[in-house]
Amino acid sequence: MAIAVLRMRDLFAAVMLFAIYSLVSASLFAVLDAGDVALTEAAVGAGISTILMLVALSLAPRHEDQGRGRNLTALVVVLVTGASLVYATWDLPPFGAADNPIHQHVAPYYLQESYDDIGIPNVVASILASYRSIDTLGEVYVIFTAGIGVMMLLGATRRRRRQPVEEPIEGEETE
């Protein structure tokens, strides 16, 4: 799937494939018991990102130029990174076992105590909004940053409509 995305020269198709990829990921998350994450990925990856990319694409040429066919350096870097990750996985605990270290520390507290602490059944929500709420505050600020960032980048549209070609001024007057 991903390979298909990157081989696709038609960017529109690439974006569509990417949306499908996101949906597949989302269902994968659901299978892995991560309901919240699945919902988010579906909404974001398949929804928002796709819409944004489509809009962006309509602002740009639809077909990718015939660029450099293969990029050897990039390939080498990728292979090295991949190899080191594969090397890492040899020592990773097996998938899905209940006695993995990740399940032994911190997480049990959340599962056992959060209902007493907070009184709501969705542990993810408890952690998100209370135990690690400063992370979530940060997350909201990231979103907010993106919002005003995009405003800053694309916000001057209405003014521009009247003076369409506005080249940046170079070499301005002196004081």
Binding site: G35, D36, A38, L39, T40, A43, V44, G47, I48, I51, L52, V55, A56, S58, L59, D117, I118, G119, I120, P121, N122, V124, A125, S126, L128, A129, S130, S133, I134, T136, L137, E139, V140, Y141, I143, F144, A146, G147, I148, V150, M151, L154, G155, T157, R158, R160, R161, P164
Partner: protein
């Protein structure tokens, strides 16, 4: 798209449903998957759908760009305000316990609901902002090309 009657009818019917779904996710996040973020996205999606079908200007008439900007700020400010409230009432930042003295669970739940509301508002507003700006830009380009053709 604007002329497609069936689509308009279906959309008119769908949008309230989606918004309802968003509200459900927003306030039911404590019991099932979901929360402010997902709710915000879905709410915004409803608005975007509206904009796609009825046009951006119509959509902006419902929630103007200025309001989006204010809402985005209001959301983060709500979240931060709850955090500061914890400090003012004698606890740590984002400490919900002092919100309702004597009932830690209730206080925590109140805190979480308010905080999630802040998240939802900001997310919905930002998604709308981003969509508005991109779509607006799209129109400008379209206008420009039309002028060139003329």
């Amino acid at each position: 798209m604007k002329t497609n009657g069936i689509l308009r009818v279906v959309t008119r019917f769908l949008i309230p449903l989606i918004m309802l779904f968003a509200l459900y996710i927003q306030f039911h996040g404590e019991y099932s998957p979901g929360g402010g973020f997902q709710a915000g996205v879905i709410f915004a999606a409803a608005w975007i759908l509206f904009a796609l079908v009825f046009g951006l200007d119509e959509a902006l008439a419902v929630i103007p760009a200025k309001a989006q900007k204010v809402l985005a700020s209001v959301g983060v400010m709500l979240y931060s305000f709850i955090g500061v409230l914890g400090v003012v009432l004698g606890g740590r930042f984002l400490d919900f316990n002092p919100l309702i003295p004597g009932s830690p669970q209730g206080a925590q739940q109140a805190g979480i609901i308010l905080v999630e509301l802040g998240v939802g508002i900001t997310v919905a507003a930002v998604v709308m902002i981003v969509y508005t700006l991109f779509a607006d830009r799209l129109r400008v380009v379209a206008d420009l090309t039309r002028e060139e053709i003329d």
